[in-house]
Structure formats: structure tokens, C-alpha cells
């Protein structure tokens, strides 16, 4: 019973999500609204304003550096929680610091 219910639920979620896909601009089309002035400015200005030849690095480390800072905290928090969970007895503090 549970399996049938989850299959039906998933199928109707897929159907609901496919409705807007049929309205989205074509895949790979030149003039879709997503490629507006914001991405054009990134492409043109990134090299002059941030000095990065790799525009993606320019975006994540200079334009949207706050995003990447919080995301480094995500990684750090994930590592700390895994450390909290899987650390066996006598690990962290007792170890002498070389």
C-alpha cells in the first residue's frame, strides 16, 4: 500500500514539475531571459574589476564572496558534526599537541 502511494505521489510531482518546463525558453537558446544584463556584465567586467581570467573564480571569490564564505562554514560545520558523531574515546583533547 505504501509503495503504491509513494509511486502515485512521485508521478504527480513529476507531472506538476513538467508543466512549467513546457513553458520555459528552449534549452541552449540565445535570447532566454536568464542571459540578461547581469550575466553580460559579469562576462565583460570580471576581468577588469577582479583581475581573474577564470570568470567563475572571479564571481565566487569576489562578486559573491560572502556566499563562498558561508559555504566554507557549511563545510566546516559538516566536518565538526561528523567529528562529534564518529570520534572514538580519548581522541581530541587528550592528544598532545606537537
Amino acid at each position: 500500500m505504501r509503495k503504491a502511494a509513494s509511486v502515485i505521489l512521485t508521478l504527480c510531482i513529476i507531472a506538476i514539475l513538467l508543466v512549467p518546463v513546457s513553458e520555459l525558453p528552449e534549452f541552449g537558446s540565445e535570447n532566454s531571459p536568464a542571459h540578461n544584463y547581469v550575466s553580460k556584465t559579469y562576462l565583460e567586467e570580471a576581468m577588469h574589476e577582479t583581475g581573474a581570467m577564470n570568470i567563475i573564480t572571479g564571481i565566487i571569490l569576489d562578486y559573491r564572496a560572502f556566499d563562498t564564505f558561508i559555504e566554507a562554514t557549511v563545510m566546516f560545520a559538516g566536518a565538526m558534526v561528523v567529528l562529534l558523531l564518529l570520534r572514538k574515546e580519548g581522541e581530541d583533547n587528550e592528544q598532545h599537541y606537537s
Binding site: 509513494s6 513529476i14 513553458e23 540565445e30 577564470n54 567563475i56 557549511v74 559538516g78 561528523v82
Partner: protein, 120 residues
């Protein structure tokens, strides 16, 4: 309807999302649930990056001379998905660590058995 065929990558992404969601709901084993979560995350990343793609354009890395903006694809979705991937990595690592602790505590990772053990 023909737009669905034109947007075949987005349709595959949504199918993948459905597959991941169904794996999540159908299986009781924790590892399979985590696999389902990963499939869902990958589907969302595929969908997001597919929106940034412009056919016939090159990657937004300036090689030699900076060509005009219309020679490159849209860089924003790719840079966002870098963050999304790291978030997915941390969430999966956390879920696997919790599963390991579950196994140590209850000896099984079947969620319905654990709930039965807890009730008993």
C-alpha cells in the same frame, strides 16, 4: 508539447528528481535513502546548469584575449552550483555519519526495524 522535446535536458532532470524522490520514499534502508537524496540533489544541479547553457558558446574562461560577452555561456548557474555541490557533500557526510551511529546503537539500518525496536 514540442517544447518538452526541445527542453529534453530539463525533462531528464525532472525525471531524475522523480527517481531520487521515489528511492527516498520506497526504501527503508538508510543507505538507499541517502542515495535517493543524492540523486535528487544531482537532478536539481543538472536542471540549474542546463538553464545557463547557450549552444555553440565556450566556457567562461578567458584564453588569450577577452572576446565580447556573446562568446561565452552564462557563468552564474555554474558558480552557484559550486556552492550547491559543497552543501550536498556536507549533508551526505552528515547523513552517513548518523547512519554509522545508528548501526552501532541498534545493529541495523532499516528504519522500520529501528522504530519497532524503539517502541518495544
Amino acid at each position: 508539447m514540442e517544447r518538452l522535446i526541445a527542453n529534453y535536458v530539463e525533462v531528464c532532470a525532472i525525471m531524475l528528481f522523480g527517481v531520487g524522490f521515489m528511492t527516498l520514499l520506497m526504501h527503508n534502508n538508510m543507505i538507499k535513502k541517502i542515495i535517493g537524496l543524492n540523486i535528487m540533489d544531482t537532478a536539481v544541479f543538472l536542471f540549474f546548469i542546463a538553464k545557463g547553457y547557450i549552444s555553440g558558446k565556450q566556457a567562461p574562461i578567458v584564453v588569450g584575449k577577452l572576446e565580447e560577452a556573446s562568446a561565452y555561456i552564462n557563468p552564474v548557474p555554474t558558480s552557484l552550483m559550486l556552492t550547491g555541490i559543497v552543501v550536498a557533500v556536507s549533508t551526505t557526510a552528515l547523513a552517513l555519519a548518523l547512519t554509522l551511529r545508528l548501526h552501532q546503537k541498534y545493529g541495523t539500518i532499516e528504519l522500520d526495524e529501528i522504530i519497532r525496536l524503539r517502541e518495544a
